[in-house]
Amino acid sequence: MDKMEQYWKKNIQYVLGLLVVWFIVSYGFGILLVDQLNAIRIGGFKLGFWFAQQGAVYVFVVLIFIYVRLMNNLDKEFDVDEK
C-alpha cells in the first residue's frame, strides 16, 4: 500500500473511533439510555440528565483535542506536516 493511502487509512480509523465515542455520549447516554442512566445519581444530578445537559458537551471538547494530538503526531510520522 502506498504511503499516503496508509496515512489516510490511519486518519479514517482515528475519526471513526472518536465518532463512536461522540455518538455514545450524546445519542447513547443523552437520548437512548437516558431513563436507565437516570437511575444512577451523582450528587444532585441524575446521570442521564447530566450527560444530556452538560457531560456530552465536555466530552465533545476532549474529543477534538485528542484528534488534534493524534493528527499532529501522524502528520509528523508520515512527514506530511506543515513547515
Partner: protein, 589 residues
C-alpha cells in the same frame, strides 16, 4: 446611577470599541475582505467563531427554553455543540487545505461545475438571509427594552454599526470585532449566573451549582426541589423528557449536521494560517461556546425556581404583593396575568395561560394589572411568562446592581451584531465572488471585485435592516429551515467531496437538489399548509433535515455510480486536500 445611564455608558463604550477596531483593521485586498488575509491566530479565530455562532437567540432565549421544557431542551444543548466535533474531524482541516474563499467555491471547483456552484450560492443566500433578519430584529428588541428607544430606531442604529465594520473591514474587521464581542457577551452572561448560583446554592460555579444542594439549609438538591415544585404545579418533572425518542434523535442530528454545514461557520476556518490550526481552532471555538452552553441549563433551572418562588408556588400570591420585577416586566410586555378565577391572586400552573402572545388593552384591571384581550385557555394557569425573562430579568430577580443589568444589554447586542456581521459577509462574498467574479463577469480586476464586495455587503445590510423593521411573519418558524437546509444540502456534498474520490458532478447536484427539495417541501407543508397533520414517522419539521441529509447521500451515491467518474485532475485535487503539507495561504487562483 440609574440603569438607563449605566446602559448608555456601557453600550456606548462597547460600540466605540467596535468602531475603533473597524478603523484599525480596514481590508485592502479581496483576500483580507473574504478571509482576513488568512493569518488569524487559532485561539482568536475560536473566539470569533464562538461569537459568530452564538446569536441573539443563544444569548437571550436559550436559558428560557431550557427553563420551560427542561430535559427536552437537551436536543439544543447537544445539537448546537456536537456539530463542532464533525467540523473538526470531517470538514475544517480539508477545507482549509483547499484554501479558497467561500463554501460555493469548494462546491464549484470540487464538482467542476458552474451549476453546482450556483446551487450552492442559492443555498448559502437562503440560509443566511433567514438567519440575519432575526439578528437585526434582536438588536432592535434589546435597544427598545433597555434604552427605551423605538425598536425600528434600534434596528437602524444596529445597521449603522455593522455597516461600519463589515463594509470597511470585511472579514478582517469582523474577526477582531467578534473577538471583542465574545469577551463582552460571555462576561455579561457569566456575572449574573455566578451571583445567582451563589445565592441559591452557595457554589460560585453555575455548572456545579445545578447539581448542588439548596443553600436554604434544607439539604435538598436543587434539581430535586425543582422536580418537586414542577410536580406540585402540575407540570412534567423538570429532569424528565416528554418528546419521543425518535424525534429527539432526529432533531439532534439535524442541528449537529446543520451546524457543521452552515456557511458562516465553515468560512471562519478559512482564516487560520495552517491545517493544524483549523483543527485546534475548532476545539478552541467549542470551549468558548461550551462556557455559555453549560451555563445556560443552570440559569434555566435557577430562573425557574426563582420564578416559582416569586409567584408563591402552589398557593399563589396576591398581585399587589408580587415582587416589583414582575410588574416592571409586565409593563415591558414579557409577563402578563389574567385573573381567571377572580381571586386577586396570581396562580402559576401547567399549560398556557392565554391563547397566543399577550395582547394588552389600554385598560387596567381592578388590581392594577394590564388587561388582556386574549382568549383565556382551559388551563388553571393565569401567568404568561416570556422565555426571554430568564436572561433579561435575572439581574433584577437576583437583586443585582444596576451595572449588571446594563451589561446584559451590551451582551445581547454583542451576540446579535457579531452573528449578523458573519452572515452578511457570507451573503456579500456569495454575490461578489461566486456570482459576479466566478460566473457572470470573470474579467473584473481584484480592485473592482473588492468594490463589488463592499457594495454587496452594504446592500445586504440594507435588506437585513428592512426585514428587521418589517419582520416577515414566518421568521420564528423558519429557523428550522436554516439548519434543515444546511444539513440536507451542504454537509453531504462537502463530506463526499473530501472522503470520496469517486463522487462526481452529477451525483452532487442531484443529491443537493433532492435533499433541498424534500426538506423544503416537508417544512413548508407542516409549518404553513397543514399545521394539524400528523408528522411522518413522528419527526417534527425541526428534525426533518436529518432525513433530507440521508436522501442526499443516497441519491448522490446512486447517480454517481451510474455516471462517469470525475476527471483525473479533480481526483488529484481530492488526494491533495487530504494531506496537510503545502497548505500555504488562501488564494484566489
Amino acid at each position: 446611577m440609574s440603569v438607563i445611564l449605566w446602559t448608555y455608558i456601557i453600550v456606548g463604550l462597547t460600540f466605540a470599541l467596535y468602531i475603533g477596531i473597524a478603523i484599525w483593521s480596514r481590508a485592502g485586498s479581496t483576500k483580507e475582505f473574504y478571509v482576513a488575509g488568512g493569518g488569524v491566530h487559532p485561539v482568536a479565530n475560536g473566539m470569533a467563531t464562538a461569537a459568530d455562532w452564538m446569536s441573539a437567540a443563544s444569548f437571550i432565549s436559550l436559558a428560557g427554553i431550557i427553563s420551560f421544557i427542561g430535559d427536552d431542551a437537551s436536543v439544543y444543548l447537544m445539537g448546537w455543540t456536537g456539530g463542532y466535533v464533525l467540523l473538526a474531524l470531517l470538514l475544517a482541516p480539508y477545507l482549509r487545505k483547499f484554501g479558497k474563499f467561500t463554501v460555493p467555491d469548494f462546491v464549484g471547483e470540487r464538482y467542476y461545475s458552474k451549476t453546482a456552484r450556483l446551487v450552492a450560492v442559492v443555498c448559502a443566500l437562503f440560509v443566511s438571509f433567514t438567519y440575519v433578519a432575526g439578528q437585526m430584529r434582536g438588536v432592535g428588541i434589546v435597544f427598545s427594552r433597555f434604552l427605551q428607544v423605538d425598536i425600528n430606531t434600534g434596528v437602524v442604529i444596529g445597521m449603522i454599526i455593522v455597516f461600519f465594520y463589515a463594509v470597511l473591514g470585511g472579514m478582517k474587521g469582523i474577526t477582531y470585532t467578534q473577538v471583542a464581542q465574545y469577551c463582552v457577551l460571555i462576561f455579561a452572561y457569566m456575572v449574573p449566573a455566578i451571583f445567582i448560583s451563589i445565592q441559591l446554592t452557595g457554589n460560585p460555579i453555575p455548572q456545579l451549582g445545578l447539581g448542588a444542594e439548596m443553600a436554604d439549609g434544607s439539604g435538598v438538591y436543587l434539581l430535586d426541589k425543582l422536580d418537586g415544585l414542577s410536580k406540585e404545579l402540575g407540570m412534567t418533572e423538570y429532569t424528565v423528557g416528554k418528546k419521543s425518542m425518535i424525534d429527539m434523535f432526529f432533531i439532534t442530528v439535524a442541528l449537529m449536521v446543520g451546524t457543521a454545514g452552515l456557511p458562516h461557520v465553515i468560512v471562519r476556518f478559512f482564516t487560520v494560517p495552517k491545517v493544524k490550526d483549523a483543527r485546534s481552532s475548532a476545539g478552541a471555538a467549542l470551549i468558548f461556546i461550551a462556557i455559555l452552553y453549560t451555563t445556560a441549563p443552570s440559569l434555566g433551572a435557577f430562573g425557574k425556581i426563582n420564578l416559582i418562588n416569586a409567584v408563591g408556588g402552589k398557593e399563589g400570591i396576591e398581585y399587589a404583593k408580587a415582587p416589583q420585577w414582575v410588574k416592571s416586566w409586565e409593563t415591558a410586555g414579557l409577563i402578563a396575568w389574567m385573573d381567571k378565577n377572580d381571586d386577586g391572586k396570581i396562580q402559576y400552573a401547567a399549560g398556557k395561560a392565554i391563547a397566543g402572545k399577550p395582547k394588552f388593552t389600554e385598560e387596567t384591571g381592578k388590581y392594577g394589572e394590564r388587561k388582556l384581550s386574549n382568549d383565556p385557555t382551559d388551563a388553571a394557569n393565569e401567568l404568561y411568562v416570556d422565555r426571554d425573562i430568564m436572561v433579561l430579568a435575572n439581574p433584577e430577580i437576583a437583586e443585582l446592581p444596576n451595572w449588571v443589568i446594563a451589561l446584559i444589554a451590551a451582551g445581547g447586542l454583542a451576540a446579535a451584531l457579531s452573528t449578523a456581521a458573519g452572515l452578511l459577509l457570507v451573503i456579500s462574498s456569495a454575490v461578489s465572488h461566486d456570482l459576479l467574479k466566478k460566473a457572470l463577469m470573470p474579467d473584473i480586476s481584484e480592485k473592482t471585485e473588492l468594490v463589488y464586495a463592499r457594495v454587496a455587503a452594504a446592500a445586504a445590510i440594507t435588506m437585513a435592516g428592512y426585514f428587521g423593521i418589517n419582520p416577515p411573519g414566518f421568521v420564528a418558524s423558519v429557523v428550522a429551515f436554516a439548519f434543515g437546509l444546511a444539513a440536507a444540502s451542504f454537509f453531504p456534498v462537502i463530506l463526499l467531496g473530501i472522503f470520496s474520490t469517486r463522487m462526481n458532478m452529477q451525483g452532487a447536484i442531484a443529491g443537493m437538489v433532492s435533499g433541498l427539495v424534500f426538506t423544503s417541501v416537508y417544512i413548508i407543508y407542516y409549518k404553513f399548509i397543514n399545521k394539524e397533520a400528523e408528522f411522518l414517522f413522528g419527526i417534527s419539521p425541526e428534525g426533518i433535515g436529518t432525513l433530507g441529509m440521508l436522501i442526499n447521500f443516497g441519491v448522490a451515491y446512486v447517480v454517481s455510480m451510474a455516471t462517469p467518474p470525475p476527471p483525473k485532475e479533480v481526483q488529484e485535487l481530492v488526494r491533495n486536500i487530504r494531506i496537510p503539507r503545502g497548505a500555504g495561504e488562501a488564494s484566489a487562483h
